[in-house]
Amino acid sequence: MRALFALLCGLLFGIGLTVSGMTNPAKVQNFLDIAGAWDPSLIFVMAGASLVALVGFRLAQKRQKPLFAPRFYLPAARRIDARLIGGSALFGVGWGLSGFCPGPAIAGLAWGNPQTFLFAAAMVAGMALARRFTPEAPEPAAAPAAE
């Protein structure tokens, strides 16, 4: 049942990214180009998504546990440290260079462009390198949330 809901959520996520136009790297890069061909659409995507999630998360967490899992798996980390800032900064540079972040890079494979596959392969390689050569990050599953 969990895999089925994961598939459904992935599908919804991919539909949302496509409808919003965020699967187009040019549109994302234009959001970041405030001094040039600025396209503020991405703000509306993030606002729409986070407002729905803000309300929906609160409703979902009124239950003791999720429908099909023993508990909620939420991040345990609280500290704002160099790792968070440095990693996010590195991500921002790659995002600006390519207009791709992980969601649109994976969903974007549906277009069948070999360049998108090249980006996704490099991204996965970067993830593997970071996992291999940096100390373990706090796992999202590590939170001792209400059992």
Partner: protein
């Protein structure tokens, strides 16, 4: 740079965003997980035992199928790449490594974390948007 211009589309952006938000809500309500794509991909490639691989693979399969569902209804929208070759590979390495080191990306920090009003995610989002904007300024207006 004018050839790269894209129209401002607040209605479809908000609608698409709300669908993304709904996806995140259903995933938390049903499976207890946050819809952070970098974390889903990052843990799928890890060798650690006990990770719910099937769930993650199913989510990513859905993520690739999503655009095809839209395509069946009204055709695939544009996907215009803005980098190629070595720059594209370097960008991919930065995005991959950065999101693992920083524990999240636009979905995990930018949507789910912001919705949870997590101070870490608010800071992370500000940092990657700022660095993204600086990078685009440098490559489009200075170089």
């Amino acid at each position: 740079m004018l050839d790269l211009a894209t129209p401002f589309t607040p209605v479809s952006a908000t609608l698409g965003g709300m669908i993304i938000g709904l996806s995140a809500v259903v995933l938390l309500a049903a499976n207890g997980r946050l819809a952070g794509i970098s974390s889903i991909v990052g843990t799928l490639i890890s060798l650690k035992a006990g990770e719910p691989r099937l769930e993650r693979a199913a989510f990513l399969a859905g993520l690739v199928l999503g655009p095809l569902v839209v395509a069946a209804v009204r055709g695939l929208p544009d996907q215009t790449l803005v980098a190629d070759g070595a720059v594209l590979v370097a960008a991919g390495l930065c995005v991959g490594a950065g999101t693992i080191i920083g524990s999240g990306c636009t979905s995990g920090h930018g949507v789910c974390g912001v919705a949870r009003l997590s101070p870490r995610s608010l800071v992370a989002t500000a940092v990657f948007v700022l660095l993204g904007a600086i990078t685009v300024f440098v490559i489009r207006h200075l170089i």
